[in-house]
Amino acid sequence: MVAKAIIYTIVGLFGFATFYPFWYILIASFNSGADFTRGGVYLWPRVFTLANYREAFLSRMIVNALTISVGRTVLGVLLGISFTALFAYAMHIRTLPGRTWLVIYFFITTIVGGGMIPYYFLLRALNLTKSFWIYVIPSIFNFFNMVLMRTFFDGIPSELRESAVVDGANEWRVIARIYLPLSIPVMATVSLFIGVAHWNDWFTGAYYVSNQKLYPAATYLQKILTEAQAAQTIQVGRETAAMFDAINQTTPQSLQMAFVMLLTMPIVAVYPFLQKYYVKGVMVGAIKG
């Protein structure tokens, strides 16, 4: 009984530790920034306000960054899912001459690569470092996602495809009329994989992109973070935190919290689906892996 209580407590503490930071930022983002600097806001907003979010949506940089993020996520998912579906469909046709060689050709890249600098060279040579497409084109394909879809396609009875071909349907029709309607779960899974990766990617923007106007929200948050850290390191954090917008009662910190929440909320919104589909994806990946 005692052992059980201890186990419940330990696991409960871990759950609390993973939940509370999000809660803390959430209530802080709905609390007046000026009031928050006085401390003591732990469980519930003390001076409730929407000013932080209003301020965030009035910031040109933040709105621009969020637009880039939404744009790359939507476009990335649409293009990624379509091309991956075609790719996976092709790779699941067992009779395709040279299929084994093709799979090897694709698989090798998951083991060896050129590294960050040759990759950066390539992006520069393609003029992608100055373009929005840097977020979309270099991440269209992913071997793991293809395997996930192919495994699902393998489960669709091949008679369906064969009889459709007998009836005169071409491969494109087979995909559109038979495979797509049957593959909604795997499409959802892979869309979520791709979408989350796009939404969370800060690295591409921070290291490969030269134009500030192209920063997605995650990269912009990283830039803010770096500045805030630099400010703290030289011990002026207190002054910065005290410096607030007297009318709106917002501070750079409370604005940052609202921004963090804007970046987290879409993930939380799709989280129920993530849990449902991702877990399956992980299991398939583990078995195939």
């Binding site: 186990i7 930071p21 849990q275």
Partner: protein, 311 residues
């Protein structure tokens, strides 16, 4: 007959290829994309052996042999970078690897389904948010200027505020704990699945023989998930030098750079920030070889000792 039936394989190759032309067309974008974005950078590794001249391109720039490798070996930072890389990877493996196993074993003991589900829901969440968000959360929570941890330290225990995110001595604990915080909950999934695959008769027999909960866990559950853990361990050693470069980059500061500069972050610093492309490529190549050696060694040791291996 038709594409897809077995009889086709008797036909001449050209006919079979033509019959599959639309299938090839579907794979064509992937084929080109992989050539451009994966194989072209492999060719770019030549940079590591060339004195790159902008106007000559990679191919025509003069060879320098292993110059950059020996340069790297003789930089004053070499040993500290190697040490940091190995220490951070080692600590994560040592402490971060068992964390989800322990958590899964504990979660398995929780019989209250609703409680379990709530905890699982919370503990998976950090996996899905970006490291940038995590680093920002940590910065806000641990800041000495009114962060929740330091306010509690000061108000309840009358202790001085500590700059957890900036002081050098806290860098390794911060890295390891945040890694566990972000990944352990999610990591339990695979072990919980392995636990459900254990034959329940084993438990029944053990309980008949008078085994308690603890000895069931020790003698049945743990050996039951050992093969999964073994595979995960080998995979972890392979990925560890790549894994979470994000995390280190985001938690790195001038104040802790002495202990936080690792191979990957160094490549970015000298390559992209300073533009020493050849040198940075050489360092990157060094890292790849280093991590490949690590996987082979672990796999070899694991094969000898436990007969678990990935090939």
């Amino acid at each position: 007959m038709l594409a897809g039936s077995l009889k086709v394989s008797g036909r001449p190759l050209t006919k079979r290829v033509i019959r599959h032309r639309s299938i090839y067309l579907m794979a064509l974008p992937a084929f080109i994309w992989y050539a451009v974005f994966c194989y072209q950078p492999m060719y770019g590794v030549l940079l590591a052996f060339k004195d790159y001249k902008f106007n000559m391109g990679i191919l025509h720039s003069p060879w320098v042999g292993l110059k950059y490798f020996s340069q790297f070996l003789y930089t004053s930072e070499f040993w500290s970078i190697i040490k940091n890389t190995v220490v951070i990877s080692g600590l994560k493996l040592l402490l971060g690897f068992p964390a989800p196993i322990i958590l899964a074993l504990l979660m398995n003991e929780i019989t209250h389904q609703k409680y379990k589900r709530v905890i699982q829901t919370f503990s998976y969440l950090p996996h899905f948010v970006s490291w940038v968000v995590v680093a920002t959360l940590m910065n806000i929570i641990f800041t000495p200027y009114g962060g929740v941890v330091n306010s509690i330290r000061m108000r309840a225990f009358d202790l001085p505020a500590i700059f957890f995110m900036g002081e050098q001595r806290f860098f390794y604990p911060v890295i390891v704990l945040s890694d566990i915080w972000k990944g352990a909950g999610w990591g339990t999934i695979i072990y919980l699945a392995a636990i459900t695959n254990i034959n329940p008769e084993l438990y029944e027999a053990a309980i008949c023989d008078g085994a308690g909960k603890m000895s069931c866990m020790w003698h049945i559950t743990l050996p039951g998930i050992l093969p999964t853990a073994g595979i995960m361990f080998i995979l972890a050693t392979g990925g560890i030098l790549n894994a979470n470069m994000d995390q280190v980059l985001l938690l790195q500061k001038p104040s802790n750079i002495v202990v936080s500069q690792i191979l990957d972050t160094y490549v970015l610093k000298v390559g992209i920030r300073e533009g020493r492309f050849g040198f940075a490529t050489a360092v990157g190549l060094f890292k790849s070889v280093f991590s490949a050696a690590l996987v082979f060694t672990t796999n070899w040791v694991s094969k000898k000792v436990t007969e678990i291996s990935i090939w």
